[in-house]
Symmetry: C2
Amino acid sequence: MAYHLLERDRDGGRRLARQLGAAMDGIVHCAQCRDFSESERCPICASATRDGALLCVVESPADRLAIEQATGYRGLYFVLQGRLSPLDGIGPRELGLEQLAARLADTGVQELIIATNPTVEGEATAHYLAQLARQHKVRPSRIAHGVPLGGELEYIDRGTLSHAFGSRSEVND
Amino acid sequence: MAYHLLERDRDGGRRLARQLGAAMDGIVHCAQCRDFSESERCPICASATRDGALLCVVESPADRLAIEQATGYRGLYFVLQGRLSPLDGIGPRELGLEQLAARLADTGVQELIIATNPTVEGEATAHYLAQLARQHKVRPSRIAHGVPLGGELEYIDRGTLSHAFGSRSEVND
């Protein structure tokens, strides 16, 4: 990219440099959800049309974006900016879980949707979050894990297939 | 493979030819589950230790093998050897669904675990199977679909993420 800008588009490169510099200086964490934001509260937290009873916890801003694009979810988010990883020195404090606890206690959140990744650390974080939710009388829920849509059983890894088989659910009309 | 056998291992090639010929002549469909078998009933159907109250329907013998290797399932199987695909002329008759219906009616099956692939045709087949189960007062269930274990939300396709989000479930202690 650097070669392309140097050879063909020096003006574009200067614009990119200015924008990047402005972003580095101007983008802060949203005071409410910890996502990246240009203002003190991000547009989603500031929106009056989102449902404050639903709070979805994700690991990263990219995860929030993926959910926002893929689903019709109209609730709010809380972005951990990481996952519990004691060996790397990342504990509840680094993930802002005190802030989350305060939010569960004070605002009218009824369901905490835990959308951390289904990795080992993501599952540990999910377990911690579920306990935190219960302490504040909030119902914790977890996104579904299993065979991805369009996938073929034959090519699915054993762990996922075993989980999908074990957590089968009754088919309703 | 043919060049390797011709150059290095003509005896091995002859053994392979004999085995392949014997398999082509000797392997039949199990009379009970339609899987490939060397005898009239396959070892799983013939086993006295499997639980006859559980019947798992899969599309192919490879799917049955995957489930058998990945899970601790101790019930029986029914192998469709395909999926409903009217455009290709594959209907209930070609999948042996009359045989399946007779089995649901006669034997003590309590749960029909529908493990067809989560593709368009697999889902249509699953829908048909669920109706068939209900007609015979058997409880239909479907394996879980969602984010595969170890996957990251950011890289999951939108359809799967949307489904995983929509079919989230409450976290219990």
